[in-house]
Each structure stands twice: as structure tokens, then as C-alpha cells.
């Protein structure tokens, strides 16, 4: 079995895992269980990113999403009341017809997107970083070279963005003295 075959097998496994775990996530009654299945989805997606040679996104997916954002989601679930009464409520007060028509809209949009992706050729110029060039150097390293070289200005502004985020988190969650 060559490298291509191996990659294919890994992709199929990861893709099935994404589909199954996200289905389980949406169908669980217990929100904590949903959150845990979401972590599985994140990890399986990280594997797909790795297959696509997007190592940085894969690491970000695990560190930021499966790590930090998942923690936030769990805290939110734990902060709201989880009485048994709340769980028995109908989660979507929609009639079956409404649900089906929404589902139809989503399916139509997805199929449309698929056709658009398949039949309209991108007219973009070949950029400076085609897939082969990125693969030879590694995605994270290519990104680092760009982010800390060419894109230094937005990079430094990003730190101000984070600083503003810190101020906001503190000042909005604490009462003024």
C-alpha cells in the first residue's frame, strides 16, 4: 500500500469520524455529552487539516478550539441552569413541515456550492506559494516567514487587538468599584 493509499484510508476514517461525531453531538440530550463529541469532531478535523498539509491550522484547531474554546463552552453549559425540566422542553418549537423546508434550503445551498466549486474554474493567478512550494518548506514555516516578514504590521496590530480583548474581558465581567 503506497503513501497515497494510506492517506486515502486515513482520510476516510477521519471523515467518517467527523460525520458520526458531529451527528452524535447534535443528537445528544445532555449538553455535556454534546460538548465532548464536539471535541472528537475537532480532533478528526485536525487530522483532515494535516492531510491537506495545513499543519498550522491543525495545531490551532487542537490548541485553540479543542482546548480553549471548548473549555469556554463547557463553562457556559455549567453556568446555565441544567434542571431536568429544561431538558424536557421541546428544543425547536417548529412544525415538521418548517423543519423539512429549512433542511431542503440547506441541501439546495450545499449542492449549489458543490456545483459552483466543481464547474467554475477559479480565475486566480497562480500565487507565490503553490501547494508544492508550501509542502517543501512546511506550512507553519511558510506562514511564519510571511507573518513575521511581510505581514509584520498587521501582526503587531494583532497584539493590540488581543490587549483590547483582555481589557474587555476584565472590565465587562467585573463590577466597577
Amino acid at each position: 500500500m503506497g503513501a497515497i493509499g494510506f492517506k486515502f484510508v486515513v482520510f476516510i476514517v477521519a471523515a467518517l469520524l467527523v460525520i458520526v461525531s458531529s451527528l452524535l453531538m447534535t443528537t445528544r440530550k445532555n449538553p455535556i455529552h454534546s460538548a465532548l463529541w464536539m471535541i472528537v469532531t475537532f480532533f478528526a478535523m485536525a487530522v483532515i487539516y494535516l492531510l491537506l498539509n495545513a499543519q498550522f491550522i491543525a495545531v490551532a484547531q487542537i490548541m485553540v478550539y479543542a482546548g480553549a474554546i471548548m473549555m469556554l463552552i463547557l463553562f457556559v453549559i455549567m453556568m446555565v441552569s441544567l434542571d431536568n425540566g429544561a431538558q424536557e422542553q421541546k428544543r425547536f418549537p417548529m412544525a415538521m413541515g418548517t423543519r423539512l423546508s429549512w433542511a431542503l434550503v440547506v441541501v439546495v445551498l450545499l449542492v449549489e456550492l458543490m456545483f459552483a466549486a466543481l464547474f467554475y474554474q477559479a480565475t486566480a493567478k497562480v500565487g507565490s506559494y503553490p501547494a508544492e512550494a508550501v509542502a517543501s518548506l512546511g506550512n507553519a514555516k511558510t506562514m511564519g516567514m510571511l507573518l513575521y516578514g511581510k505581514y509584520i504590521f498587521p501582526f503587531e496590530i494583532a497584539s493590540i487587538l488581543l490587549l483590547v480583548g483582555i481589557i474587555g474581558a476584565v472590565v465587562l465581567s467585573r463590577k466597577n468599584k
Binding site: A3, F6, K7, L50, F56, V59, A60, M63, V64, G67, A68, I69, M71, L72, F75, V76, M78, M79, V80, S81, L82, G138, A140, K141, M143, G144, M145, L147, Y148, G149, I152, F155, E156, A158, S159, I160, L162, L163, G165, I166, I167, A169, V170, S173, R174
Partner: protein
């Protein structure tokens, strides 16, 4: 692809060690069945209240601050890979980045957001 072999080895070992520990204790350990043993474990005390209690909002602030500094770490990761190519320039630009965030850190600290009360 070969770059991932160490990762694979680590994953295999992680599973192996976990299986080993759980398996060994289940084979070697004594099995005494009592009602107290099957009860919820809460620091050896009798359990108080239901499992689903509301968490304090302060945890959320901590989590949010963690998220922000986690993103800072995300910026450090590709930087660490290319810092050899960047040299002094790379060091200085990251210094500016970290100093700006340090202002935020000092703010959080002095504001007492890291303290429980």
C-alpha cells in the same frame, strides 16, 4: 509523511500505557463490592447536592483570559520555527508584540482579575 512517525509512536505508547495501567489494576486488584464504593466520589466526603451545580461566573473570566493568552501562544509557534531565519529582527518584533500584551497582563494582575476575591 515520515515526519509523522514519531507522532504515531507517541500515540501508540499513550494508548499502550493507558491500557496497561487500567488492565493491570483490574487484573491484580482486589474486588470488594460495597454500596459505598459504588457511590459518587467526592474527596472522600459524603456527597452534597446534585452533580449539576451552577458554576461561578469567575471561572468564565479565567477561561477567557486563558483563551487570549492561548492565542498569543499560537502566534509564538510559527515564530519559533522561523526565528533562525529572522535573526535579531524577529526577536525585536516579537518583543514589541509581547510588551503590548504584557501591558494587558499587568492590567489583569493589578486589577485583581486573577485573584478569587
Amino acid at each position: 509523511m515520515t515526519n509523522y512517525i514519531p507522532v504515531l509512536i507517541i500515540i501508540i505508547f499513550a494508548f499502550l500505557i493507558a491500557a496497561l495501567i487500567v488492565g493491570a489494576s483490574s487484573i491484580l486488584g482486589h474486588k470488594i463490592s460495597k454500596k459505598t464504593k459504588l457511590d459518587t466520589y467526592e474527596c472522600g466526603m459524603k456527597t452534597i447536592g446534585p452533580t449539576r451545580m451552577k458554576m461561578n461566573i469567575r471561572y468564565y473570566l479565567t477561561a477567557m483570559l486563558f483563551l487570549i493568552f492561548d492565542i498569543e501562544v499560537m502566534f509564538l509557534y510559527p515564530w519559533a520555527l522561523v526565528t533562525g531565519n529572522l535573526g535579531m529582527f524577529g526577536f525585536l518584533e516579537m518583543l514589541v508584540f509581547v510588551i503590548i500584551l504584557l501591558v494587558g497582563y499587568v492590567y489583569v494582575w493589578k486589577k485583581g482579575a486573577l485573584e478569587w476575591e
